[in-house]
């Protein structure tokens, strides 16, 4: 009995080795094996296996069948040719696909630009990964835990002293944000902040001139932006060492008047940051100018930013910093109000832009919500556009069956067919993307207006990579289903008979249409609700009159000469009344233990048309108005006062209630009206409010400007209309409203295109049936009904799916408002009928055409 070589190794060899070599190799191996076997059977076995493994290399591999005759270049050339001929032959479906895909891609590109811009904020800092901001959670009792970014002035120096982990700490006081700078008799309004000396070491804002260690080292130093330098001095030469005067800032209380030496010039035009500033003063100056008594651990004036050394664990650092902070505050509040102390922690600075909304001390979102929302919308639109392509190509499969059948019979492998169809859709996606890019160029200015951004198409590697990814993704997704479907068909069936549409395929096609229309209906409901709510907000009776009212800052000489100025304003022709208040009429900021209060001047109620329920308004006829208060109705209810006027309440001293006003909305409509009181304190108020007569606004404003310049020569007169400012509060809602409107329209258009294409196709395929029906006496209407019945059913199903989903979505959006519209049934009915009519319209043109077909035309063949 002869020894037999190991079977498994032999089987392996036979599996991979090319046939024409096999006999020789097997023979030589066996001969060697027998040779070795005589010497040592065990070793021979191993050597045989070892030798077989040696043969496992490309030179001996069985040639794959495709390689035998498939030349990739020829293949792609022919595929291109087929693609081109196909497009040419079925122009309507080509254009439907092209329009659908390019609209979809254009929306996606626009959203991509926007999302990319949002994501790139504050990502340019070199210390990015180690850069943090210090935040505090403070328990405010009934109002929940508030997260605050302001900290004590003592914190920054204490941190660098105590913690070795900390590399740099920079306190920034947001003062001087509304300043007027002057040089060479030029005056310019500019936004400033007061930063610690390592500001440029911590952040990577570009310093063009000056040394980053020293630009903020002296309290007489000022660092300005390049644009500010250019507009103040008008030269390109170095302005270092020149003197700039801070003429004024309108904060009213602390004034940083004086001359400062320019120690540095920065350029932040090409970076995106949460911090916006035209100039920097030193934090030292800020501390210097304020009341030294305020310098304690209970103060909160500074935003504190810090960088940690490499390798420091943030969680551990958070624990340490919180312990440290609590140890400092316990002596202060520990006995009386332990809940005021709160907890300290740090958040990545780069995350602050997108994630800045804390609820009950927990991070819940911020701008990232919109980023996610619009990314989802982009994806949905892209999917809807892809669905069109998939539907049309599978529906048209029958037209190309012969091609597929012949190809399969001559032995084209399945993978090549799949490649062909995916390739076809990628070609279409590329053509559509070129169109989409054109569209984007056209629409970008408009898009920038809506989103309040300055987006531009810059061909950097990110964008190109993004576009290529989107195009490939679209091409592969859109082409995958037809590719697998067509290539999986059996050639005999394909060539012998017409394709019978399988149930599964029909279900998928219908399912896709239903999906498209569900999305469209949801979007219609969303658009209806959002625009109604915005209307509601805009037109709601706020309890005060916001028309024909203009507001401007109390600044410059107005601070000292307020009364003379106001009385002159009142006597100006065209002015109805004038007053002064703190902050903004629609956003009272001051609050004290659950109460909101506003500091106002004389004629507040009269100018704004707020109704007085009882008592009187602040008036010049009585003295000592500073110790009087006016309550709102809610406050009266809150205290259970029966006859409020004349009662005394205690708030920083005894105060007499002199009047009660009807509730008015002193905050945005997100919030309910809460107890509020007005106090008379014009010196704390900083916004001058002037009511003018309607009809002659321009002349009146010109007179006001003249008067303003009499008091404030050289300072530009900048005012806003109250109704415009009010609208600005809801800018983001309006942005969503208009964007969702556009995207809804786009989604609906694309869905309709798909339906249109499908209807055209079905009508064409059923032409013979229609002809026979007509011969047998069927009327046109019945045929139209026959053809559109299917689509009506699909839209009805989508309506049933979309209603609950849309109800859930709009309901949760509305719950953010304290004052909102009721969801009414007709929103949903309208959306349903809109969808239905649009569908009928899309299908109708095709079915009518089919129903009117001439008999001779449709029955002449065969």
């Amino acid at each position: 009995m002869k020894p037999t070589p190991p079977k498994r190794a032999l089987r392996f060899l036979r599996w991979f080795c090319r046939e024409d070599y096999l006999e020789e190799i097997e023979g030589d191996l066996t001969e060697l094996y027998e040779d070795h076997y005589e010497r040592s059977p065990g070793k021979a076995k191993w050597r045989f296996v070892w030798n077989v493994i040696h043969y496992f290399r490309p030179a001996f591999f069985r040639l794959s069948k495709t390689n035998n005759y498939l030349n990739p270049i020829t293949m792609f050339r022919y595929n291109f040719l087929f693609t081109y001929r196909n497009f040419k032959r079925y122009k309507s479906s080509f254009f439907i696909n092209l329009i659908g895909l390019s609209t979809g891609l254009a929306s996606v590109l626009l959203i991509y630009l926007w999302v990319y811009d949002e994501l790139s904020f504050d990502k340019f800092h070199q210390k990015d990964a180690r850069l943090f901001q210090v935040l505090r959670n403070i328990d405010k009792g009934e109002r929940g835990i508030k997260t605050s970014e302001s900290n004590s002035d003592l914190l920054a120096p204490a941190l660098i002293e105590t913690f070795g982990e900390v590399e740099y700490v920079v306190p920034v006081a947001h003062e001087a944000t509304n300043s007027i700078l002057s040089a060479n008799d030029k005056k310019i309004k500019a936004k400033g902040q007061m930063a610690g000396k390592d500001f440029f070491n911590l952040f990577s804002f570009k310093l063009i001139e000056g040394d980053k260690d020293h630009v903020l080292s002296d309290k007489n130093f000022i660092v300005i932006s390049q644009q500010l330098a250019a507009s103040l001095f008008g030269t390109d030469e170095s302005v270092l060492g020149n003197v700039i005067g801070v003429v004024d800032n309108s904060d009213g209380q602390v004034v940083y008047k004086g001359n400062y030496v320019i120690s540095g010039v920065f350029d932040i035009t090409d970076v995106k940051s949460l911090q916006e500033f035209d100039f920097l003063l030193t934090n030292k100056l800020f501390l210097d100018k304020r009341d030294p008594g305020d310098l304690d651990w209970g103060s909160n004036n500074a935003s504190v930013y810090l960088s940690l050394h490499e390798g420091v664990d943030v969680d551990e650092f958070n624990v340490k910093i919180n312990d440290f902070y609590r140890s400092k505050l316990e002596p202060l509040y520990g006995e009386k109000h332990p809940e005021w102390i709160g907890n300290m922690f740090v958040q990545r600075y780069a995350d602050r832009y997108l994630y800045d909304r804390y609820e009950h001390g927990v991070l819940v979102g911020g701008r990232i919500d919109y980023v996610l929302l619009f990314s989802t919308i982009a994806l949905i639109i892209l999917i809807i556009a892809c669905i069109n392509f998939m539907n049309l190509s599978t529906a048209q499969a029958s037209r190309r069956l012969k091609e597929v059948g012949v190809k399969k019979i001559i032995g084209v492998p399945r993978i090549a067919l799949i490649l062909q169809y995916v390739g076809e859709s990628i070609v279409l996606a590329v053509v559509s993307s070129l169109m989409a890019i054109l569209v984007v160029f056209f629409l970008l200015p408009q898009f920038n207006v809506i989103t309040a951004k300055q987006l531009s198409v810059e061909w950097n590697s990110h964008l190109i990579l993004g576009v290529v990814t989107i195009v490939l993704f679209t091409g592969i997704i859109a082409g995958s289903y037809p590719a697998f479907f067509l290539s999986g068909l059996r050639p005999i069936e394909v060539l012998k008979t017409n394709l019978k549409t399988s149930l599964g395929e029909l279900l998928i096609r219908k399912g896709l249409v239903i999906f498209q229309f569900s999305i469209s209906i949801i979007l219609i409901v969303a658009v209806l609700v959002v625009s109604r709510q915005i209307d509601f907000v805009q037109s709601k009776n706020l309890g005060y009159d916001k028309d024909n009212i203009l507001t401007f800052e109390k600044e410059g000489n107005l601070v000292e000469n307020l009364e003379p100025f106001l009385s002159e304003v009142k006597t100006t022709v065209g002015v109805v009344n004038a007053t002064i208040l703190e902050g903004s009429i629609s956003e009272f900021e001051s609050s004290t233990r659950g109460f909101t209060y506003g500091s106002v001047g004389y004629d507040y109620l009269e100018t704004l048309g707020i109704e007085l329920k009882e008592g009187r308004s602040f008036s010049r006829e009585f003295g000592q108005e500073g110790s009087k208060v006016i309550l709102n109705e809610t406050a009266v209810k809150h205290f259970d006062l029966v006859e409020p006027v004349g009662k005394i309440i205690d708030w920083r001293g005894k105060r007499e209630v002199i009047g009660v006003v009807k509730d008015f909305h002193y905050k945005s409509l997100y919030e309910e009206i809460k107890p509020m009181f007005l106090i008379f304190r014009p010196e704390w108020a900083n916004t001058i409010v002037v009511k003018i007569q309607s009809g002659n606004e321009k002349a009146t404003i010109a007179r006001l400007e003249k008067l303003y310049h009499k008091f404030n020569p050289g300072i530009p007169f900048e005012f806003t209309f109250l109704d415009e400012a009010y609208q600005a509060i809801y800018a983001s809602e309006q942005r969503i409203a208009s964007l969702s409107k556009y995207f809804a329209i786009i989604a609906i258009i694309i869905s309709c295109l798909g339906l249109f294409g499908l209807a055209a196709f079905t009508a064409e395929r059923r032409l013979k049936e229609i002809g026979i029906r007509k011969i047998l006496g069927s009327g046109e209407l019945r045929i139209i009904n026959l053809l559109s019945r299917d689509y009506t059913k699909m839209v009805l199903i989508s309506i049933l799916i979309a209603w609950p989903i849309s109800y859930f979505i709009v309901n949760s959006w509305l719950s953010g408002f304290a004052y909102k519209i009721e969801l009414e049934w007709w929103f949903f009915i309208t959306s349903a009928f809109t969808a239905l009519f649009i569908a009928w319209f899309a299908v109708g043109t095709q079915t009518v055409k089919a129903a009117r077909v001439k008999l001779t035309e449709c029955l002449k063949d065969e």
Binding site: P5, E23, D28, E34, D35, R57
Partner: protein, 107 residues
């Protein structure tokens, strides 16, 4: 002549030529091991043989089934005129250059 041979290729081609029409895989391997004292794997020999055949330096034919090979035929290789010419050329070239080495050497 634009064709050239690697060292191992040249060796195998020489052996094929030396064995006239009796050269086949195992024999070549054994010759290499004995004469040149070179340890190689049989697969390496096959790779070279296929390469030489593709280039047209050797041609092959099947012999009759052999019992020590599990009934499989041997594949015999013969050097072609082209292969021989290449060898001649290569040796003439080397010989020519070799002769230019001065006979006296200063070891």
């Amino acid at each position: 002549m634009k064709h050239s041979l690697g060292e191992f290729e040249e060796l195998v081609l020489l052996i094929v030529g030396a064995w006239r029409d009796r050269a086949y895989g195992v024999l070549i391997l054994k010759t290499l091991e004995e004469k040149v004292e070179k340890k190689v794997n049989i697969s390496a020999v096959h790779v070279i043989l296929k390469r030489l055949e593709n280039k047209g330096f050797v041609k092959s034919r099947f012999g009759s089934p052999a019992s020590n090979r599990g009934g499989r035929r041997k594949k015999f290789y013969v050097i072609t005129a082209f292969g021989k010419k290449l060898l001649d050329h290569q040796y003439a070239l080397r010989d020519n250059i070799y002769r230019q080495i001065p006979e006296i050497s200063f070891g």
